[in-house]
Amino acid sequence: MGRCCGGKNAGKPISLPRYLAGLGVFCTYHTAIHAVLKVASVPRPDLEKVRDFHGRLFKDELKEILAREDINLPSRLLRKEEEFCPIDEGVWPEDWDDLPPAGTEAA
């Protein structure tokens, strides 16, 4: 109740085996359905729209899953590289209370 955006389990961590098993089922199920739609749309051209819609949705979702977008996978094996913070150390002094030299701008 009163939850927002994307479901009560959204963002909860999952394990690497679960991710890999899920990926396998996801790809197999979608591929099978797409094959059925492709065959079925030959005698029934009205299914072409559904087939194309399914193809686009599958492609977009697969891209997101492979990029682990909105997926909390705290595995050491798949941890992304530490984010590089592009701050020009020459512009900002080590002591953050000091203001940067007048007339200097970050690149």
């Binding site: 955006c5 479901g7 009560k8 899920g22 996801f26 199920y29 359905i33 729209k49 819609f53 997101e64």
Partner: protein, 309 residues
């Protein structure tokens, strides 16, 4: 895929290969109803509108945990409950399970339930499928399929209420499953406005009821519980292939569903206009003016309210 039920019967029998080829015959020529247990609606004629019956109510019913708990709850307060179930024509199978649940309820609760199974394929085509590629480009999420399907069901439910003279419509939406776009609070609120515009009072009686309580109600009555997998009960309601595919990333990966409220709201508003047009055409095909029917209902409802005050 084959899953065995407690009684040894198979509850999943290769739906992909068999069900799409099962032709559903309408019970009457020109009708979209393919199964009915109970009286047919009165024949509509210009100027002759059905009388509003305040002791009857309609429920969008699948036979699952939430809608069954709703049905049991409604049976305590109403003389007759109209259970309506829909088939969208695109990977939506096993409607016999719903019919079996209706029989169970009638046996346990004294024949209070009438049942209609209706195909909404033509409405769904008009509301979503014919423009699905364009809509996907605009809304960039698969929710359009489910919201479009549910709006087709709600639109047909509004028609059902008008035809049968029912003042109220309900469904088994629950906050425990609000990851489903059609059960999100915003969607339900906008759907409620749609019904209100068509003189039907829409409610979700079990929205705040915990699913464990609903399960207990069903167990206490001795109704079938199906096969429980995590929080879900298989084999007691129809299967939606598209739903299984779409919610898979959420179930497997806990991936956030892309149901952003402004986008969903825009979609519902856009489709509401189409729903109203389809309803007008439905009644026009029966020689009835929708505006006249709505005006008559408003008058009847006002009179009923005065009488009960």
């Amino acid at each position: 895929m084959l899953i065995l039920e407690g009684n040894g019967g198979a509850c999943v029998r290769l739906p992909i290969l068999t069900e799409p080829f099962r032709k559903l015959e309408p019970i009457e020529d020109g009708s979209d109803v393919f199964e009915r247990r109970g009286p047919a609606p009165p024949t509509l004629a210009p100027g002759e509108y059905p009388k509003v019956k305040s002791n009857e109510i309609a429920l969008m019913f699948s036979g699952g945990v939430d809608s069954t708990a709703t049905a049991v709850m409604l049976a305590e307060h109403y003389d007759r409950i109209h259970l309506v179930t829909y088939r969208n024509g695109y990977g939506h199978y096993y409607h016999h399970r719903t019919a079996e649940r209706v029989d169970e309820l009638n046996r346990r609760l004294g024949n209070k339930f009438v049942y209609s199974a209706i195909t909404i394929k033509d409405y769904f085509d008009e509301i979503l499928v014919n423009s699905v590629i364009k809509d996907y480009k605009e809304y960039r999420s698969g929710f359009i399929w489910f919201m479009g399907c549910k709006m087709s069901m709600h639109m047909r439910s509004a028609i059902y209420c008008l035809e049968h003279g029912l003042p109220r419509m309900t469904d088994g939406s629950n906050s425990d499953t609000d990851e489903m776009v059609e059960q999100a609070l915003l969607s339900l609120s906008l759907i409620q406005f749609f019904y209100e515009d068509h003189t039907v009072d829409f409610g979700t009686p079990v929205y705040e009821v915990r699913r464990d309580e609903s399960r207990q109600v069903i167990k206490d009555l001795g109704l079938k519980m199906g096969v429980q997998v995590m929080d879900r009960h298989l084999c007691i309601q129809p299967t939606c292939l598209a739903g299984e595919l779409y919610y898979m990333p959420y179930l497997f990966f806990n991936k956030r569903m892309k149901h952003d409220e402004p986008v969903v709201g825009k979609f519902i508003k856009e489709k509401t206009e189409i729903c109203h047009r389809v309803m007008s055409e439905y009644f026009a095909s029966k020689g009835v003016d929708l505006d006249g029917l709505l005006a008559d209902r408003r008058e009847q409802l006002a009179k009923n309210q005065e009488a009960s005050a």
